[in-house]
């Protein structure tokens, strides 16, 4: 999981490496880092440099690699889910024998619940959030604000290392009795708190909760760092209103984490206690589960299953914005850069992101319209939820305004970023149906919800992550990615994504429930199997198509064309640093003279005026 050594400097005015060692990155000798040199320069072995690193860039790349690896794992689980939905209880070709020897090469219903539980968990907690905030947050915040590193580099290192126990606990479930957690990524009690309720509710669920707690710890340390760094360490002249929207987005996402995460962490500790100490926070009295009356539900239990739902969604709704705000930021920067135009309505963009974040705290109840919560409360949550679509709409209009009258380069980052806009429109609009309480009574927990969140999280955030990788890869590794492969990757990804997820809306309108291993036993669903088979075929194609990306990524890592500092002629500060930036990032004093999107100014010599140039 270690990145290759950075290539040598590329002819720019990098300060010469003081010690002249050939493997030293170009910025190593920059002023301001002298103190650390004396301490650990020569001794910086492989471990200190790439494993126990306190350099925000290395930490970002660690998050990037672990995120991408887990994305493959989560994707494989999705493929298994799609296999079951298309051809329930049939032998899985090739891998069935290896994976399910006891059950005759078929997925058992118990394992199916594990699959979708762990798919959601891995994708949200090990992939999307760590990629957006961990990988890009770490890499981009200091470089885009002209800082040498994060405010608290050690804390930053711990924020990655807290992910390791999270990964271990998350995966441990697969190797213990009862198997991994199987109560959905939402872990609603009492299914999740009572051992006899499900096989996965034995130790698997406890490990799952521990994983969640460690992820929370990691995000919390990251968020403290991001907020402090953005507030305290901006280059001279870089006012808040001159920040790139990526930084605004990461900043707001970090604030969301700071305010929402403590609630989730407390809730998951409460659930752990319910499980190991029978505290009964969430378990009502006198249940009969599996013909047993579990200890935990004795007369003293008196818990409230709805309490968990409130606490969980109080975090997890803001969390969905943590999963999309950074993506919106990346898209904004990439669209402006490759359309060669200033962002249309910079301030409204900032305000609407803030509004999304603020409103995001008072909409959590829209996940609970049919839960038995007071229907009057449902009404107020409906109004706030409908209104959150407004800032989302404003952002879409502003992106369109940014493209209007531009000089668009159709390269891979631009294709993925524009597709992000297209896909976010769908995900945002389908939110409106679900916000409408009476309509949600019908569509709650159907495939419309599944379509909705995959449009925002997969077609939205993951597309933005791809765009960001294509866009910032040259900065991170000093080499270009291959354009032809990138475009091919885009083509299939875009087509198959829509075939897979658009059609899920239709399943949902037909009433198909999510999380069902074999829907066709119901008469109302029997006719939906062909459509599900079509979706599965498209999903397998989508998965295989990602090979274009994998090949491109690794090939470019070692053999891509070398680039200079600013291959895209972009304006924000990270492009003032060498590619890749050395220790301390910048090899000269920076001061900022303008906003981040001064493209196409008629009086300027070039079609872009970087922030750092007078």
């Amino acid at each position: 999981m270690t990145p290759p050594p950075p290539p040598p400097p590329n002819g720019h005015a990098a300060a010469p490496p003081i010690h002249g060692a050939p493997h030293v990155a170009p910025g190593e000798g920059a002023p301001g880092t002298v103190r650390e040199h004396h301490e650990d320069h020569h001794e910086l072995g492989f471990l200190r440099k790439y494993v126990f690193s306190v350099d925000h860039k290395v930490i970002g790349i660690q998050f990037l690699f672990s995120g991408l690896i887990f994305m493959v794992l989560g994707g494989l689980m999705a493929m298994a889910i799609r296999w079951q939905l298309a051809w329930p209880w049939t032998e899985m070709p090739v891998v069935g024998r290896l994976l399910f020897p006891q059950t005759g090469k078929v997925i058992s219903p118990e394992f199916y619940t594990v699959l979708f539980t762990m798919h959601g968990t891995v994708m949200i907690f090990f992939v999307i959030i760590p990629l957006l905030t961990g990988a890009f947050g770490n890499y981009l915040i200091p470089t885009m604000i002209g800082a040498p590193d994060m405010a608290f580099p050690k804390l930053n290192m711990f924020s990655y290392w807290a992910m390791i126990p999270a990964f271990v606990c998350g995966m441990a479930g697969f190797f213990i009795e009862g198997g991994a957690a199987a109560a959905g990524w939402t872990a609603y009690p009492p299914l999740s708190t009572i051992e006899s309720a499900a096989p996965g509710s034995m130790s698997g669920q406890t490990f799952w909760l521990l994983a969640l707690t460690f992820v929370g710890l990691s995000s919390m340390m990251g968020a403290v760092n991001y907020v402090t760094t953005v507030v305290k360490m901006r280059a001279p002249g870089l006012t808040m209103m001159r920040l790139p929207l990526t930084i605004w987005a990461l900043f707001i996402a970090a604030l969301l984490q700071l305010f929402a995460l403590p609630v989730l962490t407390s809730a998951s500790i409460m659930q752990i206690l319910d499980r190991v100490a029978d505290t009964g926070f969430f378990t009502p009295t006198n249940l009969v589960v599996n013909n047993l009356t579990p200890d935990a539900t004795g007369a003293a239990a008196g818990g409230q299953p709805l309490l968990w739902q409130h606490l969980f969604w109080f975090y997890s709704h803001p969390a969905v914005y943590i999963m999309v705000l950074p993506a919106m930021g990346f898209a904004s920067d990439i669209l402006a850069t490759h359309a060669r135009k200033p962002i249309f309505g910079y301030k409204p963009m900032v305000y609407s992101m803030s509004a999304i974040a603020g409103l995001g705290f008072i909409v959590w109840g829209h996940h609970m319209f049919t839960s038995g919560m007071n229907p009057k409360l449902g009404m107020t949550f409906m109004v706030s939820t409908v209104m959150i679509a407004l800032p989302s709409a404003i952002k879409v209009f502003n992106w369109l305004g940014t493209l209007w009258g531009g000089r668009i380069r159709l390269n891979s980052p631009m294709l993925f970023a524009s597709a992000f806009v297209s896909m976010f429109i769908i995900g945002g609009l389908s939110g409106i149906w679900m916000a409408a309480t009476p309509v949600d009574v019908y569509i709650h927990d159907t495939y419309i919800v599944v379509a909705h969140f995959h449009y925002v999280v997969f077609a939205g955030s993951v597309f933005a992550i791809f765009a960001a990788i294509y866009h910032w890869f040259p900065k991170m590794f000093g080499r270009m990615m291959n354009e032809t492969l990138g475009k091919l990757h885009f083509l299939g990804t875009f087509v198959f994504t829509n075939l897979v997820f658009y059609m899920m809306h239709q399943l949902g309108v037909a009433g198909l429930m999510r999380r069902t291993a074999d829907p066709y036993a119901y008469e109302v669903y029997a006719h939906l199997q062909p459509l599900n088979q079509f979706i599965s075929m498209a999903a397998f194609s989508l998965f295989i198509w990602q090979l274009f990306f994998v090949v491109n990524f690794f090939h470019s890592l070692f053999f891509g064309k070398r680039v200079g500092r600013n291959p895209w002629q972009a304006c924000s500060l990270e492009w003032a640093a060498p590619s890749p930036p050395g220790h301390g990032n910048f090899d000269r004093e920076l001061s900022v003279h303008r906003g981040p999107y001064e493209y196409a100014a008629p009086e300027a010599d070039e079609d872009y005026q970087p922030q750092w140039e007078k």
């Binding site: 060669r340 249309f344 209007w404």
Partner: protein, 260 residues
């Protein structure tokens, strides 16, 4: 190349319109509604559909068009614009109004379905529910009150798997769970309500057509969630009375055997 990308982006609204138009033929649309409040839910769905469709097609087509038009290779510069205050006011105000319209349009129906104040108060009411529907891993049962009209007494009649109700009558029942959370979902009634352990939740509907409908558990309740099927049978009033009489007979004789 430019054209290809624009067409790709256009594919999205085209796919949207195509599936909408052909959905009914393929059975990719609502199952036929058979409840009294179903039509108002469907109407609200279509109201949102109309507003969303316009926005969806409009923005997606604009996006494709801009991507096509402005990606033409040219040597001059793009438009140097940081925004347009008036335009932005317009595109903030209009959606704001539309969204509020959508929100307020929902409230009547929501209150009708869920507010206990407005619950039916005929033969069946919150005080005298037709039955208690009990969910547990992984089955459903309906418990009818028997002669005394009170649930939880000795003469209760329990019917596993099937919940039988009379047609064209306002039916109020109590929903309970014995173990974990389940949800009572009948797509044709447009009705879904979670069964929450520790709580008894009153629910009402009025089915307008006789028939047998799948009762689906809509909340993950464990490994057997997928097979937690039940049935709602909607019958004429005489058939309903007959059903209760038969059930009573069945329970009565069972009771005798136990006593001996």
């Amino acid at each position: 190349m430019r054209l290809l990308y624009a067409l790709l982006l256009l594919l999205v609204p085209v796919l949207g319109v195509y599936t909408f138009v052909t959905a009914d033929q393929h059975g990719w649309w609502f199952p036929d509604n058979v409840s009294t409040y179903g039509p108002s839910i469907d109407r609200l769905f279509y109201l949102i559909q109309a507003m969303v469709a316009i926005t969806f097609i409009g923005t997606e087509v604009l996006l494709a068009w801009f991507m096509y038009k402005y990606s033409k290779r040219r040597d001059d510069r793009g438009v140097f614009s940081h925004g347009n205050h008036k335009l932005e006011m317009v595109w903030t105000a209009i959606p704001a109004v539309l969204l509020l319209v959508i929100a307020f349009a929902q409230m009547g129906t929501w209150a009708e379905i869920k507010f206990q104040k407005g619950f039916p108060d005929g033969e069946f009411s919150m005080d005298r529910p037709i039955a208690e529907v009990v969910a547990s891993q992984f089955d459903w049962r309906a418990i009818y009150p028997g002669e005394d009209g009170v649930i939880g007494t000795m003469d209760d009649l329990e019917n596993p798997f099937e919940f039988v109700v009379p047609v064209d009558e306002d039916v109020v029942f109590n929903l309970r769970s014995r173990d974990v959370i389940h949800a009572f979902f009948v797509p044709q009634f447009r009705l879904k309500q979670d069964a929450l352990p520790g709580h008894t939740i009153p629910v009402w509907f009025n089915a307008t057509e006789e028939g047998v409908y799948d009762l689906i558990c809509a909340e993950l309740c464990g490994w057997g969630h997928y097979k937690m099927a039940g049935r709602v049978r909607v019958v004429s009033r005489p058939e309903y009375d007959q059903f209760l009489a038969d059930l009573d007979q069945e329970w009565f004789s069972n009771g005798m055997e136990e006593v001996q």
